[in-house]
């Protein structure tokens, strides 16, 4: 036992590593929030303002990140895309949770036949590859940002409902939950007061990691031209428009891709960091 305590610095290092990542993720995300709010405080050219004489221009004093094929300022479009790209990802995640949370909780608490039927229904949706199902739904609704939000939410919720169910099931195994039932607390009270507080921390990890993958999927759809439609400033759509000018104006390609990567990275770092903080296991050292 003593020796295991001696190896604790290793554990602390791991924690610190997780915290460092968490801090970086939060800082990155805050950076995006500041960037997204900056048009309110700083004077920035409107994202649709064209300067046809300066098309495909590289970085300069007037256009710090250059201009695109219509002479629009890339920095301005990048900033105005923050609420669109991140907002769409968070809206999608909210929609997913709105279905997955009640679905998973009800299935876990009700148990028996209700649980079986609900999970069977979720399994049917999960039997399709998620992105394929999202593509099909978008195909039937017609390409737009709303359609891709609905398509992704419809394809993504069952796996989340499954995770919520698993979390609630393991949370309701605890003795104090049984004690609450025995002392005559109603189901609703047990769920709200005793189960949800246990579920929330691991749920935060899932939400953060899932929002990252939703953001990736949404920007990919916009890149393919079936998500956000021009002239909406959106990172994936900006990359799509940059494709024909690949070799002439590489700056158009670099910046929106970096923005998507940084935003997804921020969410992943937060998710992984939180997971490390919650992880109390101590693997044996070899």
């Amino acid at each position: 036992m003593i020796e295991r305590h001696l190896s604790l610095p290793a554990l602390r290092f791991g924690l610190r590593g997780g915290r460092f990542g968490l801090m970086m993720g939060v800082a990155l995300l805050l950076g995006f929030v500041v960037l997204g709010l900056s048009p309110l405080f700083v004077d920035i050219a409107p994202p649709a303002q064209m300067d046809l004489l300066a098309r495909l221009a590289g970085p300069s004093d007037t256009h710090p990140l250059g201009t695109d094929h219509l002479g629009r300022d890339v920095l301005s479009r990048l900033i105005h895309a923050v609420p669109v790209s991140l907002g769409a990802a968070f809206a999608t995640m909210l929609a997913i949770l709105a279905i997955a949370l009640p679905w998973g909780v009800i299935a876990a608490v009700a148990g028996g036949r209700v649980d079986m039927v609900m999970m069977r229904l979720a399994d049917i949706i999960m039997a399709f590859p998620t992105l394929v199902l999202a593509l099909a739904i978008i195909g039937f609704m017609g390409a737009s940002l709303q359609a891709s939000i609905i398509g992704i939410a419809a394809a993504w919720w069952p796996s989340n409902a499954r995770m919520v169910r698993a979390l609630v099931l393991s949370a309701s195994q605890r003795d104090f939950v049984r004690a609450a039932y025995l002392s005559g607390a109603s189901r609703l009270r047990v769920i709200v007061r005793h189960i949800l507080p246990q579920v929330l921390p691991p749920l935060a990890v899932i939400i953060s990691l899932e929002t990252a993958s939703v953001l990736l999927a949404l920007s990919a759809l916009s890149f393919l031209g079936i998500g956000a439609q021009p002239p909406t400033p959106e990172w994936g759509a900006m990359l799509n428009q940059a494709r024909p000018f690949f070799s002439q104006a590489p700056h158009m390609l670099l910046v929106p891709g970096l923005a998507v990567t940084a935003a997804v990275l921020a969410l992943n770092l937060i998710g992984e960091g939180l997971r490390d903080l919650l992880d109390t296991r101590e693997p044996y050292e070899w």
């Binding site: 290793a10 590859p129 593509l135 099909a136 609704m141 990919a220 690949f246 997804v264 070899w286």
Partner: protein, 312 residues
């Protein structure tokens, strides 16, 4: 063994039926009338009686359940209708491009499995610098969108160094870049699963015993940990394959790989419902088969599961 497969297939039937309902209903409840769209595609200004006649011809005036059964009956015989855009049978259209998509998805999966094992094992390295670097690299690779990575690879390898080309005719050498693009990201996220699984095993007592016996880490990894994580990993591989089936659409269009990607993107743009529906059905079936295969691997590698099933 046979018993397990039979049980698994029997359980699969309701799910398959449910999938067919989803694939059918998604068209039935889609906004926009397919008849109107076909007429518009033909350039005809429809009269109300023409519409009614066409609706009757397609059986669209029948109740939902009858139409579903009729559709299912034809789908089982591989008749999923004709493409509105080309007028050809959608099954032929899809069968033509399916091999290219599957070969890309399979080679990306193989790449991803290799990458994931390297990443997962290195992330557990005793050298903390290496471990931290591998974990950082994993998170970074998971976060890079595949379409952007594809564009970066093209810029680097095709435009700058001059390897590879952008117009592809489906030969194996054209497969490398798209498979690498897809495999790196998928491999990194699989690597997280490998890392998590090994870490979970490392917290178990039998591993503690193996360490106490003085076994070398490699020996523990290969003969104590690997057999126990193959089953869960097979499930993760099947899921990754499902993600790759969707992911190929993104990458195919960038590298000009002649798979299903371009077909489906065109179908979405032209609202070619039969093609989209058939695409959903085929991809669903392929993914479903992979999941069953994964379950069989789980069965094979889990002695406890095998024993309970052969007992009763």
């Amino acid at each position: 063994m046979l018993r397990f497969i039979l049980i698994r297939l029997a359980v699969a039937v309701p799910t398959l039926l449910g999938m067919s309902v989803v694939a059918f209903a998604i068209v039935a409840i889609a906004p926009g009338d397919p008849v109107m769209m076909e007429l518009r595609a033909l350039g005809v200004v429809p009269k109300p009686e023409d519409i009614a006649a066409l609706r009757a011809e397609y059986g669209l005036d029948q109740p939902f359940l009858l139409r579903y059964l009729d559709w299912l009956g034809r789908a089982v015989q591989l008749d999923l209708g004709t493409s509105i855009a080309t007028g050809r049978s959608v099954v032929t259209e899809i069968a033509m491009r399916l091999p290219a998509t599957l070969s890309l998805a399979v080679s990306a999966l193989i790449g991803a499995v290799l990458v994931s094992v390297v990443f997962g094992v290195c992330a557990l390295s005793r050298n903390r610098g290496v471990a931290a670097c591998m974990r950082g690299l994993t998170i970074l690779l998971v976060s890079i969108p595949s379409f952007w990575l594809a564009l970066l690879f093209i810029y680097l390898f095709v435009l700058t160094i001059g390897w590879g080309r952008l117009v592809s005719d489906g030969t194996w050498s054209d497969l490398i870049l798209p498979a690498l693009t897809l495999g790196l990201g998928a491999g990194a996220s699989l690597g997280r699963v490998v890392y998590e699984r090994i870490r979970a095993e490392l917290s178990e007592d039998h591993i503690r015993l193996a360490i106490a016996k003085g076994l070398a880490p490699r020996r523990i990894l290969i003969s104590h940990i690997a057999p126990r994580i193959v089953g869960p990993l097979a499930t993760a591989w099947a899921n990754t394959f499902g993600a790759l089936l969707g992911g190929v659409v993104i990458v195919e269009s960038i590298f000009g790989w002649p798979g299903l990607g371009q077909l489906i993107l065109q179908a979405i743009a032209q609202r070619d419902f039969p093609v989209i529906q058939a695409y959903l059905v085929f991809m669903g079936l392929i993914f479903f088969t992979m999941s069953i295969l994964a379950d069989i691997v789980v069965f094979f590698t889990d002695p406890q599961l095998r024993r309970t099933l052969s007992d009763d």
